[in-house]
């Protein structure tokens, strides 16, 4: 008898397995989701377990195979997962996700000053974050194209630093003259004083929808038709006034959770298809 440290395949009475794509502050993921799992399990009277996964593609695949039931996806990965998994439903997003932004940063040595003209970035060595990051790749590429800049046409091809922090470091080193990252990360790193002075904020993108909780169909089959509503109610009911809830909200960097629906991500889907990131 030992049970696997990794959750086994779905069984009828199995727990609700939550997961997340590794994005900002990945090293606190474990703590974050431990707390979320406990709070959820207490409120909904369910067994809840958390599985750490470090790879975007793996998280999407595990959602498709039913090994993960409720996943905190980015905009693009959420769309990918939903398209591959018939019956998946968005549950909730943060208040900031309805109005999300990315910031373009440049190395001070370029002499560029803050401006909204992305065309000046063409011809510079430029890096995105992770390949399927909504805020570090997809939406910035879209806005670049809108201003007539070929998102793949940077000299030597664009870089993919792998994470928002790596983007900051690579722009600071001057290896890349410019880059783009999640505004939330930029704000929190600036607040921590962790941003190298060589990195200068250049531009901010218009708003778009990003992160959201996505629920898979097998959990609904197992745990009841009303599961999506119960989850949405719990998330949207989290209140900053309640100390327990506040801890969860703070970990997510949110003021509150709000309901969301698939249509909010249609733009992302369209751009994803355009860029060949969705088949």
């Amino acid at each position: 008898g030992r049970t696997s440290p990794v959750s086994g395949p779905s069984d009828p009475s199995g727990p609700l397995r939550i997961g997340a794509i590794p994005d900002q502050d990945p090293e606190v993921l474990q703590r974050l989701y431990g707390i979320v799992a406990d709070a959820l399990s207490g409120a909904l009277d369910l067994d809840v377990s958390y599985a750490p996964v470090t790879d975007y593609a793996a998280a999407v695949s595990l959602f498709r195979t039913g090994d993960l039931d409720l996943v905190w996806f980015g905009g693009l990965t959420g769309v990918q997962a939903r398209l591959q998994t018939a019956g998946a439903v968005p549950i909730a997003q943060r208040d900031i996700d309805a109005d999300f932004h990315s910031v373009f940063v440049v190395n001070a040595a370029t002499g560029l000053t803050p401006s909204d003209d992305l065309a000046l970035l063409a011809g510079r060595r430029f890096t995105y974050g992770s390949e399927t990051s909504t805020s570090g790749r997809l939406m910035p590429a879209f806005f670049l194209r809108e201003q007539g800049v070929d998102p793949d046409g940077f000299p030597g091809g664009p870089g993919f630093s792998g994470s928002h922090d790596a983007t900051l470091a690579l722009v600071a080193s001057g290896t890349y003259e410019a880059g783009v990252l999640n505004e939330q990360v930029w704000t929190s790193r600036t607040a921590e004083g962790a941003v190298d002075p060589a990195v200068v904020r250049y531009a901010r993108t218009p708003a778009y929808s990003d992160y959201h909780w996505l629920l898979g169909p097998s959990a609904v089959d197992r745990l009841g038709e009303d599961l999506p509503d119960r989850l949405t109610d719990w998330f949207t009911g989290l209140s900053a006034d309640d100390p327990g809830d506040a801890e969860v909200l703070e970990l997510f960097g949110a003021g509150s959770f709000i309901p969301t629906e698939a249509a909010n991500y249609d733009q992302i889907e369209e751009i994803g298809r355009d860029l060949g990131l969705i088949n």
Partner: protein, 534 residues
């Protein structure tokens, strides 16, 4: 008895020169492709970022909470590594029989075919295997075990076969001449002589399995690789180094254990020659390995049933449906073509750097009994440095090298080169320990200085094994470009991870096929080169 006896003519020399020259030309072409002769490649302003990474090596994270996390991760890593390596050695031993030249003799077609089949599992990186398996098996510990065991098994098969083929064949041929079958002759004439090398390689595989635990994070199993990946994503270098040191410590354990066993096998306790005697240490080591595998099986709660469950079959057919037929658009094929060129250039530079470094360092890194304390300390230091070079994963090397180099093929190539140097340095040092020491001792006895005795007594005998190792590492470097390709470094790895991220399975199939073909081509070229220089 009327046979006319004449010595066969010598005509290898020209081929040697042709191969040597060809190698140099390819290296020059690769360096040119990396932009070394056209414009700046250095980015001095990134030294500060690089310095942060280097400085953190001296102050690894050591708060209690993090150490506890690391300790847990270590257990998981050990379990996966032990099972993965065990599976690899089992698969490798069976596969070695199937791919060794000794088995096929002069039947080249059969040999080439089997070798080609093996290139498929071998051509894909463990991380790619992990991703593919996740899609079929979901969150199951088998993913980690198989992701390590399958590609390693194929590599092990090839290396075991090469080791057996490289052993002096006098004894083997003498047995054939007295009517022994090929199998039994190999058992008596080749295996005992290759035993040291086989054991050494098996323990080396265990060490690799520990390092490959990086793939385990994918499946949510935790492990040191997962911790390292998390800390790396937020560039917490202190934590990255702590995880690297933990990895390195495990590697040292595998190394020390392997060395002890090898020493006992090479120099069994001198017993009275008239009685049979079993070495108790070896028996304990054997039983201990079995116990470790059994514990790992229990710890991971592996269940063979999942491999054949209906769900697995469903998922497999989903992936196969999506992946077949492969994509054949012209765009994709063009992209693959140019990525393949980058990949080859990157791997050639990597291997040139690693081989040159490994040979230069091997004299110091190799352990030699009966030398002074200064030589011993120097050897230890070099070995530790080599260990760190390979304990830091290639993606980390790629990023920190990218701080000080401009984007392009070069940072990726050097990242792979530095990592491969860590691996090759160790392998070459061990190969030089395995070389017959008597000619060297004979030279020392006539007053030759250490370096001279090494040049004349060891290097010529080392040529074959070093070439074999370097060429084998070349193939690995091709596969590893998957790990470093992303960072603006180009190569087929970018293409693959891009297609995987887009879940474009048909294109993934095409890219994987291209990688396998590239692997196979490298394998065949290597084989030719070695035959010419043998």
């Amino acid at each position: 008895m009327t046979a006319v006896l004449a010595a066969p003519p010598l005509h290898r020399d020209r081929r040697r020169w042709a191969w040597g020259l060809g190698g140099l030309v390819v290296l020059g072409w690769s360096l040119a492709g990396a932009g070394l002769f056209s414009g700046p490649v250095l980015n001095p302003s990134g030294l500060r970022q690089f310095g942060r990474f280097a400085a953190a090596a001296l102050s690894p994270a050591h708060d209690a909470e993090f150490l506890r996390v690391l300790a847990e991760a270590t257990l998981v890593t050990v379990a996966y590594a032990a099972l993965g390596a065990a599976l690899a050695v089992v698969l490798g031993s069976l596969g070695a029989v199937a791919v060794s030249r000794t088995t096929w003799g002069r039947r080249r077609a059969g040999w080439t075919a089997v070798r080609g089949v093996l290139a498929v599992p071998r051509g894909l990186h463990e991380a790619v295997w992990g991703l593919l398996l996740v899609n079929v098996l979901g969150l199951d510990p088998w993913v980690g075990v198989l992701a390590i065991g399958i590609p390693y098994g194929a590599v092990t098969a090839k290396v075991f076969a090469d080791l057996l083929d490289e052993v002096p064949r006098g004894g083997y041929e003498a047995l054939l001449a007295s009517g022994a079958g090929r199998g039994t002759a190999a058992l008596y004439g080749l295996l005992p002589q290759a035993a040291g090398g086989l054991l050494s390689y098996s323990f080396y595989r265990l060490e690799c399995a520990v390092r490959s635990a990086v793939v385990l994070g994918l499946i949510g199993a935790g492990g040191l690789g997962y911790q390292l990946a998390l800390s790396f994503a937020s560039l917490r270098w202190e934590q990255v180094w702590a995880a690297v040191y933990a990895l390195a410590a495990l590697c040292v354990l595998a190394d020390v254990g392997g060395r002890a066993v090898r020493r006992r096998v090479a120099e069994p306790r001198s017993a009275d020659g008239s009685r049979p005697a079993r070495d108790r240490v070896l028996v304990v080591a054997g039983l201990g390995s079995l116990a470790l595998v059994a514990w790992s099986w229990w710890f991971l709660a592996l269940s063979p049933a999942t491999l054949t469950s209906a769900r697995t079959v469903d998922q497999l057919s989903y992936v196969l449906d999506a992946a077949w037929p492969p994509a054949t658009e012209g765009d994709l094929l063009t992209a693959i073509g140019s990525a393949a060129v980058d990949t080859v250039q990157m791997s050639v530079i990597a291997i040139a750097v690693a081989t040159a470094g490994a040979v230069l360092l091997s004299g110091v890194a190799a352990r030699r009994p009966g030398t002074g304390p200064a030589r011993w300390a120097a050897g230890l230091a070099v070995r530790l440095i080599l260990l760190l070079l390979r304990a830091v994963p290639p993606p980390v090397w790629a990023l920190v090298l990218l701080f000080v180099l401009l984007p392009g093929v070069l940072p990726g190539a050097l990242a792979l080169g530095v990592y491969a140097l860590g691996v090759l340095g160790r392998l070459v040092a061990e190969a030089s320990e395995e070389v017959d020491g008597r000619p060297r001792a004979a030279l020392r006895a006539s007053g030759a200085p250490p370096l001279g005795a090494w040049l004349y007594g060891v290097l010529p005998a080392l040529g074959g094994p070093v070439l074999a190792l370097a060429l084998y590492r070349w193939e690995v470097a091709i596969r590893d470009t998957v790990l470093v390709g992303l960072l603006g470094a180009g190569g087929i790895g970018v293409l693959l991870s891009g297609r995987i991220a887009a879940f474009d399975w048909a294109a993934v199939t095409t890219v994987l096929a291209a990688i396998v073909l590239l692997t196979l081509a490298v394998d065949l070229v290597s084989e030719r080169a070695r035959a010419a220089l043998r």
